[in-house]
Symmetry: C2
Subunit: 201 residues, 2 copies
């Protein structure tokens, strides 16, 4: 092999080619909100809905990252920030690959979300909103109970802050809406921002 | 919204559905070899080739990870291990999303590659082989010169070890083959392990 040309190490498949193949733009839908607000539930439901419509879509959430890429991190402020930094980088890679990446993370700190937003070209911060009382009454994983009992620390909403978005691209209030209504609302947002071109075939 | 059912937080789009949509399995092609062996050159060339054939494919390489996800890491043994751990996790996420992820990393330590291989269901270690003299004569980024001058440390092949694969799934010897021959050889490997079904349309 002749000496590799440094130029050839640049990517040869451009994003527009991927988007043309997939018939929609790539990007990131960043779901932020309290534990129990419904982020993961809605992320996976939206993923199914979009997949069935023909989108290339993939969910990253706290559970699949914490068990793998971020398995070395804990829940201190500095480790949460690092977790969100990594999540933002991975979401941007998926967007660069032409997919819609739904990233569902509590991501309690405004500055962390701001950093994540700078990585991807099409990044939309979506606030999955529910008040603390509602989230705590749902307590799907029993974590609020443990946090109140002092058995887990740095729990967002209990002994750690949640900084609500100042200017989110979209808000879904799951205290007021059913899952079906929330999903319909999110689908409408996606249709408006990532429209799917008709298939040629 | 009623209390989220923990069950609903599991992924609702299964990998076989993605693979059926994409017409090929997802997986990881892990390129290992010395700096200058041709890993990134061949990875991006193979990506283009597979994309044009209809594959969903994405390259992760040292440069795009080191500038983002692993920007906090240096080139010490422990940081290299962490870099490869993260790369392996991200490659596995892409495979889980139904893509073929071509991961091009020197990944000098056998044990690090072994860990990366456990994350993804279809993982193929591909040794991009060239002897040190050849790689050093190519020196596409001028790094060997800097390493010999002592201006960079822990450089694989100079003052850090490269542990060649014991039992790689495939070997491409870029000392003997041209880029075109290497690429043809890799394409054959992919066709055998990730065959593309004919389009219905």
């Amino acid at each position: 092999m002749t000496q590799p040309d440094v130029e050839t190490t640049h990517r040869r498949v451009a994003l527009p080619q991927r988007e043309s193949r997939n018939r929609h733009p790539g990007g990131v839908l960043w779901f932020t909100g309290l534990s129990g607000a419904g982020k993961s539930t809605l992320a996976f439901a939206l993923e199914e809905c979009l997949f069935n419509e023909g989108y290339q879509v993939y969910v990253l959430d706290g559970d699949n990252l914490r068990g793998g890429l971020s398995s070395d991190l804990r829940f201190t402020h500095i480790d949460r920030t690092e977790n969100i930094r990594r999540a933002g980088q991975v979401a941007a890679l998926f967007a660069d690959a032409g997919l819609i990446c739904i990233a569902a993370f509590i991501s309690p700190y405004r500055s962390d979300r701001a950093i994540a937003s700078t990585n991807a070209k099409r990044f939309h911060e979506i606030y999955i909103r529910a008040d603390l009382t509602t989230c705590e009454s749902r307590d799907p994983k029993g974590l609020y109970r443990l946090a109140r009992a002092g058995e887990i620390e740095n729990f967002t909403g209990i002994d750690d802050v949640y900084e609500a978005p100042d200017n989110p691209a979209f808000v879904v209030d799951t205290t007021e809406l059913t899952i079906e209504q929330s999903l319909a609302s999110l689908s409408g947002f996606v249709a408006a921002h990532f429209s799917l071109r008709a298939s040629d075939g």
